[in-house]
Symmetry: C2
Subunit: 190 residues, 2 copies
């Protein structure tokens, strides 16, 4: 049943895109259906839990996409300063390509969804934890103590999330590049 899996995947990907562009409450299921070109009945067929279930799956999907995206820079650079600067530069270019409309789907959900649903909060938390784990593991392998590796990873994720937000408000990737220029000073061997 490739068709069915394909529709499901399109619904999740479209939701992940719309969350980045217009946030959680700004994204309605009718718009997800329209943008994804999926038949109307398919949404509740694939996601009996409705918008909440769809959003949780969009977060889980974005978690793994962003993990792979981060891993690409880590695999390409053995020096932490170069790897982290590469992540910010790739984000800066992505912002420019999208006209500063793309950001992080998890940020929008965390800012709007926290009082609404613990399922959304937990999915966001799991995504942030996975990225922190990946970055702090990479830093620990390169000689940073475990506590410092975790602090640097957390602070870097904070900086990225904030820079994505500032870039949208200002329509420039300059905040992301400011983070990229400074973060290597916190890292060994850069």
């Amino acid at each position: 049943m490739p068709e069915r899996g394909e529709t499901r995947r399109r619904l999740v990907e479209t939701t992940a895109q719309l969350l980045q562009r217009q946030g959680l409450n700004g994204t309605g299921v009718l718009e997800v259906l329209r943008e994804s070109g999926a038949p109307r009945g398919s949404l509740y067929f694939h996601f009996p839990g409705g918008k909440e279930q769809l959003t949780v799956e969009a977060i889980d999907y974005s978690r793994s996409v962003i993990t792979a995206w981060l891993r690409k820079s880590l695999d390409a650079h053995s020096r932490p300063g170069a790897a982290f600067a590469d992540i910010t530069e790739r984000y800066a270019r992505r912002l420019e390509r999208s006209g500063y409309t793309l950001g992080c789907p998890i940020a929008a959900v965390a800012l709007e969804g926290t009082p609404l649903s613990d399922n959304l909060r937990r999915a966001s938390e799991a995504a942030l934890a996975e990225w922190e784990e990946l970055l702090s593991g990479y830093l620990a392998e390169r000689g940073l103590g475990a506590d410092r590796a975790r602090s640097v990873a957390t602070a870097f994720i904070c900086s990225l999330e904030g820079a994505l937000m500032l870039a949208r408000a200002r329509r420039t990737a300059e905040p992301m590049r400011a983070v990229g220029a400074l973060i290597p000073a916190l890292l060994p061997g850069s």
Copy 2:
């Protein structure tokens, strides 16, 4: 007409609070009226531009509240590392006191509102620019070159905004404290 000014002020402050808790699209004008205890007709009397005008004024109000909040730490500490660490620690305590519900009203608007209204984007941009000016001016007075002062100020604001978001998703002030522990390393005399 103190009554009239008082109602107007309450509407703006309530909007600023609700934006932090539940975002832009999650905050309806009826809820603003209910939470502020203002009479129903007062909203369009004071804000003929409706929700957009009210939101722009809530952003402008938050801009000056947060500028004063930042200035308090800068005035209390002549060493940049101590001043910036004080800002993060005060934010961490505010997050804890609010049960991780409070964040930044501008972040929510920037993530949800960018494609909707250029007035909202411009108000957000002006707030971010005012804070950057304040922080970079303080750093430049303490010997940082103008370009570096601006980069550090921008990256610090990114870190704060991201840490507010992560703290909401994780229900802990630990990301804010991670930023506070690392940022002094980027600053002179800390």
